[in-house]
Symmetry: C2
Subunit: 698 residues, 2 copies
């Protein structure tokens, strides 16, 4: 897809030539019609005209597709990132927060265009997921009492390993120190032996799996010191990443800022299940702030201390993870990177998601459905699908309870970045909260008709257990009742054969000998009206800031100015996410032109189109450049023809092709609204309204 | 406006009769057209039909306006609130957060309908303020470093007075204890003397102004004890309401959860001013979470520990607070409650905002503009304008730096509640941050042409100051330069008269004697290209949760079920804020009807209309009741006529009038979209499509 600037220039010239030809033919047709020549002659001329117009459209599409499609790929990554970040911070897409006080690492503000982009991305997310799937969206507090995060495991396990400079007390992430050491040695040390290189690469690939002791051992072995002072560092120890606070005035109630939004959904499961008419499956969703007190934030918007998450918890019967709408997406093809390919060091493969599910590569239809929908969502934001892949977690990356996990990863100048996690978390979360709260968090499936089923029944005979086990009798009785079906059947077989059987009680480690007469184990027929179970949860979780940053990288390109002496920045945002949809310019400073421009701006606002009017005296070329830099897809220029009572129209320019058409003033707001909301395509605008040669100043 | 259920029933019957008459006339017209009678005869019949239709429309409007307009006014407040809160919590508009763990006071979850209402209110706010005024919306972190909140005054002064139970340590708000004591005595103590009554009323009216010592004295005097234990309580002391945390791993960087979003805008002033082309006025806006660690939260959603704020900071030249769009709102009239009327114990007065500004009741046009726009905003949410007033702060309520403050207050079952504050905060905030950060937070107004102006010039002669004041010479020199114009002129007069003058240095308290030759003070002509100044800030600040709660109260009403044996709850939300715009029902359980209903639901989703399909076998009346309870404005019922190839239409029912029309299936999604988005009125739908008699089951 990549195109050099020369190729693009050629394409543009071809396009201009073709348009001129098409315009001329149009004039010919009009002239013929005026002359009342033979009908056949007119028809032939019209046919030629239609053909030319079609060619122009095709060429337009080609140009739009090629413009800027190389992103950060061909150019030098560092230069690309520098240019991008200069534009992003100069135009206030984002800026370090509290800058006048020196700022705080890992905290950023979204300025006006960034804030608008974020609002647009979230609105699209709501439309694409919540509205489309009738999800139950909820909104829970950020401040969370300790007990909730104790149950979820975050209080005990949401940690990174940290080391401290032994003299200054400065803190570092242990794995980052080790990673930086290995990377630097591999890059810069020419004396490294092949064996050593292999070792360091091994360390890098297993970095996420090292525990405190292993990390500490490596840091000692490689003599790694604090980067700022070269002082020795402490042994690594776990640092909890949650911001801690105190709720209420008494000071005895610990709270944390939530590290994710999911827990707010889990604790409400029963209410949501009831709201959904006690029916499964259903999905709940939440958009909101989450917080992680990172040890040493880096990589700009990619690792921050406060961020917006959009999470979905789709609750399903663990025995039926089919999805009624899977067939609608089954034919979609995109890059999948399953375990097998990763372990074999092969590349991601473009795969039909229907095949991935039927071949068992993706665990189930529901997970596959969300993967496919996420592909569509990210693509609609302007993420390049050639640099988007779904990578399956390796067994050692997944939590022990998870059935299958895939990360949507986007390639940007920092490498492949996880932007969305899609995990089948089984029943873990609901069980954890049910255990801790003693609340019932199960679902009930009523059978179409009641069923008679065989169930194993264990009855400990307490009168005999008492004398036999004294103070342990109660424990033994409970342990007998707690046996799994398999265990109980094994005991029954042993009792029938030998008259006695051993019973090991895990919690105490003691083993007791049970006699046949002390317990009855038998199969009984029971009538069941349905089954009660803890639902499984499939969780797509979206890091909105990361998605937006990757979108910035994929939408950013530069093109030379008219004079060729500078590179102009452009964001080719799809209209739906562009922060401003349209700018309105009077051609030059003139009160009458200003009045028309202001009226058009009011029309656009009424139509709900975010727009900006620019009545500064700057040259039209500079104003176009300013608007391109914000990724504004359309610009209206009001000129003296707009004032002409016979015409009353203005030019509308598309950002990437820089093609221009003339549209009547009264239609323009509606046209811009429709193309901004995706209800009308630019090519249709091109075919409906007369083209004009690009402005000399553009 | 209040209407009894009998009056409403009468109105409804009248309406049904009128509709029948109109339908009959319609049939007559069609019959006449079929018969090809005299043109005049048809015209006359059509004229009668038009008249009847117009009457139906007028009656419809009357009914819609009367339905539920009495809110919590006529019925008993407690009962009303109980019914409302039962509906709100049963239908998950909001619920106490973390309920399975016993909950946390002052923290709530918004369930699915509440979350949708909130998203709709915020979208409307964005359209009404941000888009309409081209405001610069930004998005800053909740976690805020101490220095920012030190500068704003929150670290030192954002406190409530607290007392502790001396034995149990339980905490209470001192003013709440005193308030409850006074109210209870006034209500329940029949032996209270007239004098004592007067005293307690006096305490209640000055409650907000008492300091710790005064509060403590009253608590002692009245022998007030801890409500839960009757133990004595401690002296009151200030408790800071901000949640405190620690940023980063080292533990030495204090942070707070922001108590408001405004500070994030102030610290970015320079960047936003630059973004706006270094032009004033402009407004910045922010929507986001804010946090207050209330001592003892009460009143449900009205006083919570975490809430959503939407704040605007409009920066203006303090010498020109006119507003170009003020004329667009000047004729609006609504309830104003100025200082004068409050002090005279008079009622709020319906006032034209243009008059309030020209008479100086409201300080300036910009403040008046935002008051009027806020009136429009709250009204569009369904807030009853008869129970909405703008109350001016009394001088003792305002911060010393503020020029004028008005609160939008809504009357609900808890009394008059502040939902929006509109304050002219002068240059206080920018100056505070500029002082603390040493950053320039000023604006510059360039004059159309440079001006020659006289400026006082003070030149300390350092060579003479040195020997005279030794180590103090530098301080004296700086103090001379820092003199205000008036001060310098007074010194000059004194020096000219006496040859010497005293100079008091405030920071040290020392006074020095300055000799005439040690300083020159003279007026000089200077050419100035413009003036530099700190902008003033006009701040409208919206408590979104409070607005939503008040809207719930004003939109809630009950009406008897068909059988008359129960009261059904209804929320008459305007379509634009309704959580779901439309429900789709098959008339009964039938696969063909279900299919059509599902297709319509997909059509609605495609059109961006939040909808819900209900294919349970419940009676249509019950399903209507369920949907009314969620405030869904429209319901589509698919019946067997919908399957009829000749008809292919379905009924559309409006929630409050319960009027029904039949609309072709292919048009229905577009019609519902247009009425939901306010582009089409229900009365227009009524006049365009044929009415049907309300379903027997409704």
């Amino acid at each position: 897809m990549a195109a050099t600037e020369e190729e693009l220039e050629l394409l543009r010239k071809e396009l201009v030539g073709m348009k001129e030809e098409s315009e001329k033919q149009g004039e010919l047709v009009r002239a013929l019609k005026g002359k009342k020549v033979e009908k056949k002659e007119i028809e032939e001329a019209v046919e030629v005209l239609m053909k030319l117009k079609l060619e122009v459209q095709t060429k337009e599409k080609e140009l739009v597709a090629k413009v800027g499609s190389d992103g950060g790929k061909s150019s030098n990554k560092e230069t690309f990132r520098q240019q991008l970040n200069d534009t992003l911070t100069n135009r206030l897409f984002f800026i370090p927060a509290f800058k006048i006080y020196g700022g705080v690492a890992g905290l950023y503000d979204y300025g006006p265009p960034g804030c608008a982009v974020k609002a647009n991305v979230l609105a699209l997310w709501r439309q694409h997921y919540v509205l489309e799937e009738s999800m139950l969206e909820i909104d829970c507090p950020c401040v969370t009492p300790e007990v909730v995060l104790k149950a979820s495991g975050h209080v005990d396990k949401f940690t990174d390993f940290m080391v401290k400079d032994e003299k200054t007390g400065m803190c570092y992430r242990a794995d980052h120190l080790l990673k930086d050491y290995c990377n630097e040695a591999l890059e810069k040390d020419p004396l490294l032996t092949a064996e050593k290189r292999q070792e360091l690469k091994g360390v890098l690939s297993t970095l996420d799996e090292l525990d405190a002791q292993q990390l500490g051992a490596k840091i000692k072995e490689y003599n790694i010191t604090a980067p700022d002072s070269k002082n020795p560092v402490s042994d690594p120890y776990p640092f909890n990443l949650m911001f801690k606070t105190s709720i209420g005035p008494a000071g005895n109630s610990i709270g944390y800022l939530r590290p994710e939004t999911a827990q707010g959904i889990f604790v409400n499961f029963s209410k949501l299940y009831y709201y959904n008419g006690n029916k499964l499956p259903f999905a709940a969703a939440q958009i909101g702030q989450a917080f992680r007190n990172e040890i040493a934030p880096r990589q700009g918007l990619l690792r921050v201390r406060e961020f917006t998450l959009a999470e979905i918890e789709h609750f399903v019967d663990p025995e039926d993870k089919s999805h009624p709408k899977f067939k609608d997406v089954a034919d979609l093809q995109f890059l999948l990177y399953p375990r097998k390919e990763q372990l074999a060091m092969e590349k991601p493969v473009k795969t039909r998601i229907g095949d991935a599910v039927s071949q068992g590569i993706v665990n189930n239809e529901t997970l596959g459905y969300f993967i496919a929908r996420t592909y569509l969502f990210l693509k609609s934001l302007g993420i390049d699908e050639e640099r988007l892949r779904f990578r399956q977690h390796l067994p050692n990356e997944m939590a022990h309870y998870a059935s299958d996990c895939w990360d949507a990863e986007v390639e940007c100048s920092y490498g492949w970045i996880e932007v969305t996690g899609l995990a089948d978390r089984s029943a873990f979360d609901l069980k954890a909260h049910s255990d801790k709260s003693n609340e019932d968090l199960t679902a009930f499936e009523k059978y179409p008709k009641s069923k008679e089923v065989e169930r194993l029944k264990v009855t400990p005979h307490l009168k005999l257990l008492g004398p036999a086990f004294k103070k342990d009798a109660d424990t033994v009785g409970k342990a007998l009742l707690a046996m799994a079906e398999e265990e109980a059947l094994a005991m029954k077989a042993k009792l029938d054969a030998d008259g006695q059987a051993p019973l090991e009680i895990c919690t105490t480690g003691k083993t007791f000998t049970i006699k046949k007469e002390q317990v009855s184990i038998s199969k009984e027929k029971v009538v069941e009206t349905g089954r009660r179970f803890t639902p499984a949860v499939i969780e797509p979780s979206f890091g909105i800031g990361r998605i937006i940053y990757c979108m910035y990288e994929h939408c950013f390109y530069t093109r030379p100015s008219k004079s060729g002496d500078e590179q102009l920045s452009v964001f080719k945002f799809p209209p739906i996410v562009a922060p401003i949809k349209c700018t309105v310019f009077p051609l030059m400073q003139n009160e009458k032109l200003n009045d028309v421009a202001k009226r058009l701006s009011v029309d656009l606002t009424r139509a709900g189109v975010a727009n900006k009017i620019d009545i500064t005296g700057t040259s039209i070329g500079k104003r176009y450049a300013r608007t391109d830099e914000l990724g504004v897809p359309f610009a209206i220029t009001v000129d003296f023809e707009s004032l002409d009572a016979e015409r009353e129209d203005a030019t509308l320019r598309e950002r990437d092709s820089r093609a221009q058409v003339r549209i009547p003033l009264e239609e323009i707001a509606t046209v811009v609204r429709d193309i901004s909301e995706g209800r009308l395509a630019w090519v249709d605008v091109l075919s409906k309204y007369p083209h004009v040669a690009p402005s000399h100043e553009d």
